[in-house]
């Protein structure tokens, strides 16, 4: 983060543009929209340079072989296979702006519909593990950073290092082995029981199915917030103003609550909002292990099954989610930090 601040001096990005919160908001929103548009272009380019033949995946090899050359030509013309990529991109983008993201090849339904369904499954998971890992990581980081080198600090640092080294999907598999296969406390997979109609699904069932995936995501997500908070906390607790507070006779608890927490909260919040994209990445792996029918699993299925419209749609939607996280962070920054709020920064 420190680097980012410094870079702002060059007067390009960030908070220098508008003095008020509203100016900031408008600037950041425009920036986010531009970024998402560029992401969609990048994804489109990557998908269109792929050696995967669009006709073959759409119609199937057998059907394509049975067609006459004229039919193949007509199909090519219909789908615009031979059009230049830029033209194809523009027509896709125009459709997206009208709310039509194309039709998924694997699900045979509109992409927007598939994404909405999968996203509503994933949202539970993402939100709960994001909150849990943020709160836990923050608390652990504050506890550890309160006094460097103590047992508490070593335990938290050690755990964070271990969690950062463990692949998320393996954590998920171990949880599955222990709590679902061995103890049989939780179901092995999916998001709802099998053989039950949509109306009969109880909230409890949904929660029971989401506990293990959420736990796997949170356990690995803690480490970066905890380590970051710890580092900031250590530097605050060793600063001059804390030394002065000690000299005034303030108790250690009051120092942590009044001077520590306040200063650590903002960077920790920024980091946690920026970590939304990491949580989405982790959910791709974890959902695969639990066969949880969420957005992450849909992305893997789309990638393996060459479902280009769906993969493109998912990329854009997750990029929007990640960018709104960053947007929220910079807005919060403006609201929480009085120096920025009053436009007196620097």
């Amino acid at each position: 983060m420190g680097v980012g601040r410094r870079a702002h001096r060059s007067g390009r990005t960030g908070h220098g543009t508008g003095k008020t919160v509203w100016g900031l908001l408008a600037f950041q929103t425009a920036r986010m929209a531009l970024l998402v548009a560029l992401v969609s272009i990048l994804a489109f380019v990557l998908l269109s340079v792929s050696p995967v033949d669009p006709l073959q995946t759409n119609v199937g090899q057998a059907a394509l072989g049975a067609m006459s050359p004229e039919q193949v030509e007509r199909l090519k013309g219909y789908w615009g296979v031979d059009l230049p990529p830029a033209e194809r991109y523009l027509s896709w983008a125009a459709d997206v702006l009208r709310g039509d993201m194309g039709t998924s090849l694997l699900y045979r339904r509109p992409v927007a519909e598939v994404i909405w369904e999968k996203l509503s499954n994933s949202l539970w998971l993402l939100a709960s593990s994001w909150l849990l890992s943020g709160l836990l990581g923050f608390t652990l980081g504050v506890l550890a950073g309160r006094k460097r080198g103590r047992l508490c600090d070593r335990l938290v640092t050690g755990y964070s290092l271990l969690a950062a080294s463990t692949p998320a999907f393996w954590t998920a598999m171990v949880l599955l082995m222990v709590f679902a296969v061995y103890f049989k406390w939780f179901p092995i997979g999916l998001s709802v029981p099998i053989g039950v109609t949509a109306e009969e699904i109880a909230l409890g069932d949904r929660i029971r199915h989401a506990v293990l995936p959420a736990a796997a995501l949170s356990l690995t997500g803690i480490s970066s917030v905890a380590l970051h908070t710890r580092e900031k906390m250590v530097s605050i607790m060793e600063s001059d103003f804390v030394l002065f507070a000690r000299a005034r006779g303030e108790s250690e608890t009051s120092i942590v609550l009044r001077h520590g927490l306040r200063n650590v909260l903002i960077p920790a919040m920024t980091l946690q909002f920026a970590s939304i994209s990491e949580i989405i990445g982790g959910s791709v792996l974890v959902e695969q292990v639990f066969s949880y029918p969420g957005l992450g699993q849909a992305a893997v299925t789309a990638g393996l099954g060459s479902d280009v419209p769906l993969l493109l749609g998912i990329t854009v939607v997750t990029a929007v989610l990640a960018a709104s996280g960053n947007l929220a962070a910079s807005i919060l920054y403006g609201i929480v930090d009085p120096r920025i709020r009053k436009g007196a920064a620097r």
Partner: protein, 284 residues
């Protein structure tokens, strides 16, 4: 009294440093052993023997065997060896990209800087796993998809760091004086800035290894990487998933543990090197 205390302190510090150096040496040795033995065992890893299938861990087969009678220990080490070699290669490529982009952003003027900043934001704007999937798809899956994917996605945060560092350096008196003396931008960049950026570069490179290895394992686990015959840690783990519910826990537990151990040791060794490179924190 105080002299004695000082000596004791010194002894403790020396012991701790000795201990941490020992641990560092041990982890480097371990990583080297895994890399070398895995390379040697590459062919042995795919030997099938149906007379010994589905054995739980025992003295002869430390990690047990799978349904085709392959020795899981040999397979795991072979897979990890490939992960380590691939990780070293891709992290090195990524770090060089980061270095060049970061440097050029700060030296080649505002237009280039804007472009590089945009690229950084773009790469960081897509969730990492999704970007890996997209690149793998663009390469038609397979080995090159994974290699390119990992090499092309890890440079962003280091590039941002180096760019920031160069911005600070650019304002320093000795660089300004050199500029006023008529040295070219390229000369300034490579003769005056690059040596200063070396510690950042090395630290960033070393801390990239564990990430690269983890992402290689993850993308292979999802099925985008190498072909199923090859011994790759991600493939071993994704195969073992089918046998989880049948109680064959050893297929998933031990390979995963060894993978975690390898990544942890990379982390540890990397942190030790970084700490040695920054003398200010040696005494912590």
């Amino acid at each position: 009294m105080s002299g004695m205390k000082k000596r004791e302190n010194g002894k403790r510090l020396g012991n701790r440093r000795l201990f941490s150096m020992g641990l560092f040496g041990a982890s480097v040795l371990f990583l080297l052993l895994v890399a070398v033995f895995g390379y040697v065992w590459q062919d042995a890893a795919s030997v099938t023997d149906f007379s010994r299938k589905n054995l739980p861990p025992c003295a002869g087969y430390l990690f047990g065997t799978d349904w085709m009678g392959r020795d899981m220990f040999v397979r795991t080490v072979a897979g990890l060896s490939m992960s380590i070699r691939l990780g070293l290669l891709t992290a090195a490529v990524s770090a060089v990209i980061a270095f060049l982009l970061g440097l050029s952003a700060a030296v080649l003027g505002r237009a280039v800087d804007g472009l590089v900043t945009l690229l950084i934001d773009l790469v960081m704007g897509i969730p990492h796993m999704l970007l890996l999937i997209l690149i793998s798809f663009a390469c038609g899956k397979g080995f090159w998809g994974v290699t390119l994917g990992i090499a092309l996605t890890h440079w962003a945060s280091l590039a941002r760091l180096i760019r920031g560092e160069v911005f600070q350096l650019r304002e320093s008196p000795y660089i300004r004086i050199a500029g006023k003396l008529g040295k070219s931008r390229a000369y300034l960049a490579f003769h005056h800035m690059a040596p200063n950026l070396l510690p950042q570069f090395i630290t960033g490179l070393i801390l990239m290894f564990p990430h690269a290895i983890l992402h290689e394992a993850s993308i292979t686990f999802l099925g985008f990487g190498l072909s199923p015959e090859e011994p790759a840690i991600g493939i071993i783990l994704s195969e073992s998933m089918k046998y989880l519910a049948m109680g064959k826990w050893w297929l998933a537990l031990f390979p995963g543990l060894l993978l975690t151990a390898v990544v942890l040791m990379f982390h540890y060794a990397g942190q030790t090197i970084c700490r040695m490179a920054a003398p200010g924190s040696v005494h912590e």
